[in-house]
Symmetry: C2
Subunit: 232 residues, 2 copies
């Protein structure tokens, strides 16, 4: 494992309150793996074996039922995924695959839960992390139940725009098919939703989106900090 990777992992909120020796023990037990694009990391229904930390690349969390598939979330560095399944020692509720070639740290389930018992700083961090995950899903659910597809797209564009420095344009890090699924709609509808937003200054240039009239877009989208603000 590269020294600056260790540093990055150490800086994660989840690990920053952990005692140094516990952190080292956990790292020693962990595996660092690089996966090619489109590799399946976990499958829903399987018992949880590792806690995953994304160091490089992008991971798609998705779920299936009755021949339908939907994207639940995209995980980018330096975030963890499927923490809840590990803590409850339960089966995964979501599957995970790489989008691009990705580097991932895998910490065995048993080591995470051992550290949970012995390191109170780690335990407190886990509580905060989990509470944050919970609130993120609740916001997602409000987004789904209270907005139309077009409103969801508009607000997502505003969010990405802000995250990328409010420069008047933004880049989509996943293809439109995935974005559509993430927003709970079909690719065809996403395409039409972009057209509907044209009068509000939304220009689509492949993966680059230009927002030429942010005020108009925000008036339309009516962003709500209790849904869209990741930090709340």
């Amino acid at each position: 494992m590269r020294p600056d990777d260790i540093l990055e992992v150490r800086k994660l909120h989840l690990f920053e309150n952990m005692q140094e020796d516990n952190f080292q023990a956990m790292l020693n037990a962990a595996y660092l793996q690089t996966f090619p694009a489109q590799a399946e990391l976990i499958r829903e229904g399987d018992p949880s074996d590792f806690l995953y930390v994304v160091l490089e690349g992008t991971i798609e969390l998705f779920a299936q039922s009755n021949d339908h598939e939907t994207t639940m979330a995209m995980v980018r560095p330096f975030n963890t995924f499927i923490l809840a399944a590990v803590l409850k020692d339960a089966v995964y509720l979501m599957s995970a695959r790489t989008v691009q070639r990705s580097r991932v740290l895998m910490i065995p389930n048993s080591n995470v839960r051992a550290a949970l018992e012995t390191d109170s700083g780690f335990t407190r961090s886990i509580v905060i992390e989990l509470a944050g995950c919970y609130r993120a899903v609740v916001k997602d659910q409000k987004n789904l139940k209270l907005r139309t597809t077009i409103e969801r797209l508009a607000n997502r564009l505003i969010r990405y725009h802000k995250e990328q420095g409010s420069t008047g344009s933004l880049e989509l890090f996943h293809d439109k098919k995935t974005l559509a699924s993430l927003l709970g709609m079909t690719p065809e509808n996403l395409s039409r939703a972009f057209n509907t937003l044209k009068p509000y200054g939304v220009r689509v240039l492949g993966n680059r989106i230009e927002l030429e009239d942010l005020d108009a877009l925000e008036t339309f989208a009516k962003p709500d900090r209790l849904i869209d603000d990741r930090s709340v």
Copy 2:
């Protein structure tokens, strides 16, 4: 506070690993309140002040945005609500109101978080509880994104039927308007969804629903343990 209430609270998974003196201290700081029907307990966007434990009655958690309102969950004894907001010391993401006259234990935010720091048994229970809450919302989201309204209704009926002892009939504990919102549809559509399920042996008698052909209903609903099984 009645002795058997204390006993019930003590038995909650959230408190069962707490040290006796910490539990007593927390209880001493808590308020026991009885609210009439339709009383608003908390409003989304307000800073969190209490952790709530439902001892009697039913609480509806709901959210609003742009003149729309949706029911997020119904909380019955003996469960807690808005734990995540308290732990993060953040604003509420959901509002809460009583459905019927309800008795509720209110533990001040600061006492919960103090106990979190000092009582490691409590901290571990919180981790498990939170992880469970997270997984419940993830299941909800899969339910919303992967199923039609009619499938959601069918599976919900099967779940209530099982929870109530699989006697061939079940009772709805909330009115149909609320059930519709919980399932992400309008009351009119819920009514029509019930009609659509008639060929599968679903009989509606006010708040009582009879399932006369459970096999047929399950064949239609295709229940999925990774969505419908509360214990997974």
